[in-house]
Structures are given as structure tokens and as C-alpha cells.
Amino acid sequence: MFGLKGSDFALFLVVAVLTLAAPFILNPFPETSSLAQFNGGYPDLMQRFVIFGIFAIGFNILFGLTGYLSFGHAAFLGVGSYAAIWMMKLLTMNVIPAIIMSVIIAGLFSLVVGWISLRRSGIYFSILTLAFAQMSYALAYSVLTPITGGETGLQPKLNDPRILDAAPEGGRIPQANLFGLDMGESRVWNVGDWAFTFNAGYYVAAVVMLVAFYLSIRIFRSPFGMMLRAVKSNQQRMNYTGLNSKPYTLAAFVISGMYAGLAGGLLVAMDTQVGPERMFWTASGEVVLMTILGGVGTLIGPVLGAGFIKYMENILSKINTTVLEGWFAFLPDGAADAVVAVLGLFVGKGWHLTLGLIFMIVVIFLPGGLVEGGRRMFRGRDRTATRKVKSGQTPPTSKPAE
């Protein structure tokens, strides 16, 4: 259906249902329980899940299919964001022009960067993309301040031209909207002790993500996708057959750059602000980690990886010692203090530690990422190799060490 074969359609359907029902799924705990701390079903986080999901899906089209590891994809996200915010400052607070422009500008930028960087392969390619991204970051932070706002970034202001919009009323900065529907608009449904928030911006972003996901399945299953896999498995042999692989890899690069730009545009649409650190190498590294954590070359893995990292960042960092003390108040004093002291190292200001440990645990115990590892545990270890081929990964040349 929709040009998807059975298992792919089933996967798409599952993702669609999960995405649309996210306000319920992410808020499993009643507001009054102490576990409500772990609820992730508020607009900002839900928006970030799907937006970084888009970013990772796009990254996976390049990395998962061709094996080219870009270490500078955050630059395209950043450039897309800047394009979007300028549309909002100059044209209108309607998100449509902003999103379209972010995809176009990021596409053009990735065309230039890709055209140059794809002259090299392997680690040399990675460093070229890293260099472009770091230059973009450094310049946006400093000498390009007139265009980028530098450290403080760009936000819509009252005195922006916004030629398509009516003048703002009452000294209020207008909200980002979709033909009048504010992105910040939410409705809360209270069921007993549960409160489920349905946010307009989230659903806009979620629909965009589903489209992006659908396109990525089509790309994975298309002859073009096959060609990209061929690049990954043996580029040299492919070149001997007389095929020039560069147009294919460049196309993949630009597509993934446009996905990044789309994510950048959506970030601005949901939260009207851009800062240059969106392009720092750690941001590029983050999408690499998201993709690997979820499962390189799998369809759904990158989305899971993105959600996982964003959840950790936003939920763990807010658990402070006071919250911990509340949880363990039932223990005797000394024991509670000890438990709080130990757990305190892993949450709140120590949330990075937990993140690092999880990276290590996942890669040690779930080789191939969350999806691949999950599958492996589910079906037993014997059919590993065949599934790897199926999911678009080259089989390891020898058996994985230990």
C-alpha cells in the first residue's frame, strides 16, 4: 500500500500510530505520582523527539546506505534554522515559507559541501565535513554576527519588517503559526489523575516526520537505494563496471542535508530562536550517536536513538537531590542519604555520566544498536548474518570478537 510492501507498510503503520498517540504513550504516569518526573509527554520534548528523528532519518540515508560518515551534519541543521528565522523576520510568522526556505538553503549548502567533500572517502571525507561545519560554527559565532546574531542568536523582534503580516498589536511579538494556528496552542485532556497535552506544533512536526519517514522507506527500497548500498559494499568494484558512483553519493548527501535543513526549520517553527552552537561539532556528533545507538542502516533505529538521547537529556537532568530525597523519604535516614548521594551522581548535574554509561552498555551488549540488538535478543543469535544483509549492513568479514 502507498507503494510499500507488506512489512514496510506494517512498520510505517506502527510508527504512525505511535507518533500520533505519543501524548498518551509518553505520559504513562499520573500527575500526582512521584513517577510523573519521568513523563515526557509535554510539547517541547515531543517536538524535539520528532524533529531530531527527522534529522537522524536523513543522516541515516547517507551513513546507513552509503557508509559515508559525515561529521558535519549539524551545519545543515543550523543553516536551515537561520534561513527559517530570517523568513520569519522578513516575510511572515507563518511556518510554511520558513520550512520551505530552510530545506532549499540547506540543500544548496550541502550541495557545495558534498561536492567538495565527496572527492575523498573514509576518514578523509569525515574530516572534510567536520572542517566545513566547524568553520560555519566559528564564523556564525563571531564575524558573521550581523547575519547570525552571534552568541545571542536570532529571535523575532517587534520591529522586524515581516512584510506579509499585519503590524503586531499591543507590543506583543506574534507567534509562529500555520495559517493562524499557533504552534504553541495546546489542549489538555484530564482523565482522572492523568493529563494529556495535545499540541498543534507537535502534530505539525509529527506529520512532517511521517512524510519524511515514508520517503526514507521509499528511498531505501528503490533502485537508487540499492545503488547506494552497492557504494557501501564495494565502491571500487562498482567503478570498474563503468558506473560513476559520485552522482549517487552526492544525491544521498544532498537529500540528507535537506532532511537536516527541514529539521532545523522545524526547530525554529516550534521554538523561534537560533543560536550558533546548534552547529558545533558536538551537535554533529550527537546525530552520529543517535544513528549508531538506534542502529545504522535500519529504518526505525535512528528515530529511536534520537528519542532516547533527547529523553535522557531532558528528563534525567531535571532530577535533583530534592526530588531524590522525596522518592526515598520512606527509607531510614542514613540509608536514604546514602542512596541519594549515590544516585545523585547519575542524575541532575551528573546526567552526562548516565548517558556515557548507556552508550557503552548498548554497544557492548546490543551490537548493531537498539533495533539490531533487540531483534537479536528476540530471535536468538543464529540468524544474525542473514538479517544483517537484509537490513542493509554488510556482513562482518569475520565473526565479531567475543
Binding site: 578523509y124 567536520l130 572542517a131 566547524q134 563571531s142 548517558l355 552508550f359 565479531p400
Partner: protein, 343 residues
């Protein structure tokens, strides 16, 4: 002229740090083929072993000084280092002041242990795994190591001065025939440069002139054949890993007086060290060293006011710009070997 000479000195000095870190990284990454994102953390651990030794040496007991008060108006508690009691205040303080050079000895066993633990406990299992897995596991490890240091030492930089004999600067220009007071250069930075040359020379000599080094070099070129000859190459690779850790650690120890160590210093150097290794060319030790000094010197020139005036912002991007230009004109960096990490 003096200005240019000064920047060359600065460049050599920055280059020393880049070259030392890149040297260790290229042993692991360029030759063992492991994308080690935890290499910056090794540098950081080295610097913090200097901090640790200085803390250990100044272990104190408190004395209440009734004549003075602290910020709450209570009698002031004065810290008295045990070393002052044991060796007298002067010699005791001298030992504390010399904690950075002493930390060279202190850090070697620490770095060897860390290197062994990392390789045997973790990296060994990842030689044949995809690079993606190596990135994830070593990045995770890097975060864990830096968070542990943050939990113990806090997030602020910790001043770790050089011994008084090496603090301050001297008239380097007069030494080589310039007008006096034109080229002043800090003692410790020259020490750092000399130390870097020494370590780099030692590593090269070790690989070139010892049987061990010969086997390792053969193993880098063709691991399987060496294995078939009945040589236990794995054990030697473990030792190589430990050596790389020691080189990174020593670079960190000696760097502590130049910039106060903080827990994220490893991450600050991480990206740069990868750039240096790749610009130098994968699998080439001399390439890494050369690239380190080259980028250090170019960075110094780009930061001159006269240059920035002509090309604003050039100091922000010089390293990356040069990296792009070199990689586009020389496909495998300065001295890279064919077929290493090109897929």
C-alpha cells in the same frame, strides 16, 4: 622580524602539544585502526594526575589561628602541609612546588594501567567491530571518564603552576643575537617544546631500532601474516596502546602549568587531534608530528593582529581551512599510507 620569530616559537609550542596528542592517537587510530574518541580523555587524565600529585603532596592538617578570623567570624583554620613538618617549611614547599615535574614519574604507572585496562577490558573486543561501534563505545567512555573527574575535582580549572625556577619568561632574543627585551619567552613553554621533541624521538627510536618495534611495524602492515609466523601480535598491540596512553598522559602532565586543567580539556583537544592525524595522513607517525607542528605554526601566524586586519575571522577557521586545502590537494594527507581507513 621579531614578531614573526615570536609566532614561530608560539607555533612550535602549540605544535608540540598537537604533535604529542596526535602521535598517541595515530598509534591507536592510524595503525591499530580503532577510532578512539577517548584519546582526549587520556590527555586530560595525564593533566589531572599532575593535579592529584600536587594535592597529595600538599595534604594538610588544620591549625586554628585565634588571631585571625574566617568569613563567618570564627577563628581562622590554617592548612599546614605535612611535608612542611617532615622536611622543614622550605624544602617541604620546594617539593610541593616541583609537583608537576615529579608528576611525570607519578603519571607513567597510572597511564600504563589506564592504557592496559582500556585495551584489555574494552578496545580489544572492538578491533573487528564496525567503526560506528568503536565511536559509540569510546565516546561513551570519554564522557564517563570526564564526568568522574568532574565529580571529584569540580568543573572549574585548577591552577597547577610550574616550579618557581621555570615560571616567568626570559630574554630568548638576546640569546640568539636580537636586541634585548624584544623576544621574551616563558621558560616552561621552552621546556614543553624540548620535552615533546624528546618523547617524539623516543617513540620513533623505539619503533625503529628495537625488535619489538619492528614486529609492531610489521603487524601494522600485515597483521595476519605476522600472526601466522607464530608471533603474538595481540600482546604487542596491547603494549602499543599503553605507550600511546603514556604519551598522551605525559603531554597532559606537562601542559598543566601552561593552562590550568579542567575536566573538559580532553574534549577541547579531541576534534583538533583527529584533524591533525588525518591531515598528517592515516598510518603515518611522522605525518602526524609534521601536521601538528604545521598547524600550530599556521594557527599562530593567523592570530597576528596584522593578519586578522586583512582577513577578519581567519584566526577562527585557519586550522579547518588548511585541513580542507591539504586534503583536497593531497588525497591521503601529508604522508598517509594507501588503504588505511579509506573506506
Amino acid at each position: 622580524m621579531e614578531a614573526i620569530l615570536l609566532q614561530i616559537l608560539n607555533g612550535l609550542d602549540k605544535g608540540s602539544a598537537y604533535a604529542l596528542i596526535a602521535l598517541g592517537l595515530t598509534l591507536i587510530f592510524g595503525t591499530l585502526g580503532v577510532v578512539n574518541f577517548a584519546h582526549g580523555a587520556l590527555f586530560m587524565i595525564g593533566a589531572f594526575s599532575a593535579v592529584t600529585l600536587s594535592r597529595l603532596l600538599s595534604t594538610s592538617y588544620t591549625v586554628i589561628d585565634e588571631s585571625r578570623t574566617d568569613f563567618l567570624g570564627n577563628p581562622l583554620k590554617v592548612e599546614m602541609p605535612y611535608l612542611h613538618d617532615w622536611f622543614g617549611p622550605e624544602f617541604g614547599q620546594a617539593i610541593i612546588n616541583w609537583s608537576v615535574p615529579l608528576a611525570i614519574l607519578f603519571s607513567i604507572p597510572i597511564m600504563v594501567a589506564v592504557g592496559f585496562a582500556m585495551e584489555r577490558g574494552l578496545i580489544k573486543h572492538f578491533y573487528k567491530r564496525p567503526h560506528a561501534d568503536q565511536i559509540l563505545v569510546t565516546f561513551g567512555l570519554a564522557i564517563v571518564l570526564q564526568e568522574i573527574v568532574k565529580a571529584v575535582y569540580g568543573a572549574n580549572p585548577i591552577p597547577t603552576p610550574a616550579p618557581p625556577a621555570f615560571s616567568g619568561s626570559f630574554d630568548f632574543g638576546a640569546l640568539i643575537g636580537f636586541d634585548p627585551l624584544q623576544i621574551m619567552y616563558p621558560y616552561w613553554r621552552l621546556v614543553y617544546f624540548a620535552f615533546a621533541i624528546l618523547i617524539i624521538g623516543a617513540v620513533f627510536a623505539f619503533l625503529r631500532f628495537t625488535t619489538f618495534g619492528m614486529v609492531v611495524r610489521a603487524g601494522m602492515a600485515d597483521r595476519e601474516t605476522v600472526g601466522l609466523l607464530g608471533i603474538d601480535i595481540d600482546k604487542r598491540f596491547t603494549i602499543m596502546f599503553a605507550i600511546a596512553a603514556v604519551v598522551a598522559g605525559l603531554a597532559g602532565v606537562m601542559y598543566a602549568p601552561i593552562n590550568s586543567p579542567n575536566y573538559h580539556m580532553g574534549m577541547d583537544f579531541l576534534v583538533l587531534s583527529f584533524v591533525v592525524v588525518v591531515v598528517g595522513g592515516m598510518g603515518s607517525l611522522s605525518g602526524a608530528v609534521l601536521a601538528g607542528f604545521l598547524l600550530g605554526i599556521l594557527e599562530s601566524f593567523a592570530s597576528m593582529a596584522q593578519v586578522i586586519e586583512v582577513v577578519p575571522g581567519i584566526n577562527q577557521i585557519i586550522i579547518y581551512l588548511v585541513a580542507i586545502l591539504i586534503l583536497l590537494t593531497r588525497p591521503r594527507g601529508l604522508m598517509g599510507r594507501k588503504g588505511v581507513m579509506e573506506e
